[in-house]
């Protein structure tokens, strides 16, 4: 098992980390994703997508169980990512799995809305 790529960022109380293991990327987000971290989140998701393309990832798991809140500007960052993956063909397309927490009320409604953008590649685990 190889683990050869790591991307991370921290801004205020928001942290994002991504690692690759055998064509699977694990992303973990914690804290609050609001206007103050939008630019950094855009960059982070761009890097994740670039790595997914490089390693021909089959799946990216996004653990948001410790993500207290995400604002609409940061949801737009995910819309960009999901729409970009959706436009890929062949090996360039991969699944995105959100791992959520039922105790975070924003997650059920917001993640379901994101999943409806691309049911064929998005799933939400509670």
């Amino acid at each position: 098992m190889s683990n050869d790529w790591v991307e991370s960022m921290r801004e205020n109380d928001f942290t994002a980390q991504a690692t690759t293991t055998n064509r699977r990327i694990q992303v973990s987000l914690t804290g609050t994703a609001d206007l103050t971290v939008k630019t950094q989140l855009d960059h982070f998701l761009h890097e994740v997508h670039t790595e997914a393309q490089r390693c021909l990832a089959e799946e990216v798991t996004v653990d948001v169980r410790q993500l207290e809140f995400m604002n609409s500007s940061c949801l737009k960052s995910f819309v960009w990512w999901i729409s970009t993956v959706q436009e890929q063909t062949g090996d360039g397309k991969y699944r995105i799995v959100f791992v959520s927490s039922p105790s975070m009320y924003w997650q059920r409604r917001s993640l379901n809305a994101l999943a409806c953008l691309a049911n064929e590649i998005i799933s939400v685990q509670a």
Binding site: N12, T32, D34, L35, T36, F69, N71, S72, S73, L75, K76, V79, W80, S83, Y105, W106, R109, S110, A113, L114, C116, L117
Partner: protein, 162 residues
């Protein structure tokens, strides 16, 4: 019939990005202790966050007025935000809220507005559509010159006589 007490507060704040999450947490932590419905508290705090972020991005001047009213059983709430802004933003706000008010399917409109944001950087109105769809709150707009007031509210549920 026992009336539910109403909780309310008002703030005058500078509309800065870093203040938004601070105020949202204040709302959540204050009301969670009193209101028995955590999801209702979330819906109100979501509206507070998205409205304040709109002010942080588009308000002119250094004063934004926020007031929150909440019935402690979670049956009714209103969030009112007042600030000064530009004529261009007022026109976009007017069009966006008119579209939201005209829609019978707020969740479908929200998803449609999500799709529309792909590839564009300018103002999308997604935060307002989110208040309507995820927060299940009605939106209204009042304009007085360059002052705008946005109200997000839900109607009280019908009470059963005791």
């Amino acid at each position: 019939m026992q009336e539910s007490p109403t909780l309310s507060f008002g703030l005058q704040i500078q509309p800065q990005s870093r203040m938004v999450s601070i105020v949202r947490r204040f709302v959540e932590e204050s009301f969670e202790k009193i209101v028995g419905d955590p999801e209702a508290v979330f819906r109100v705090s979501l509206a507070v966050h998205e409205l304040l972020e709109n002010a942080a991005k588009y308000a002119v001047g250094d004063k934004t007025g926020l007031s929150v009213h909440f019935e402690s059983n979670g049956s009714a709430a209103s969030i009112t935000l007042t600030n000064q802004t530009t004529p261009e933003h007022i026109e976009r706000l007017r069009a966006c809220i008119a579209e939201i008010q005209a829609s019978d399917e707020p969740v479908a409109l929200y998803r449609d507005m999500m799709r529309r944001t792909f590839g564009i950087q300018e103002e999308s109105g997604l935060g307002l559509a989110r208040i309507r769809a995820e927060g299940e709150l009605n939106l209204s707009l009042e304009i007085d010159g360059c002052m705008v007031t946005i109200v997000a509210s839900c109607l009280p549920t019908r009470r059963t006589p005791a």
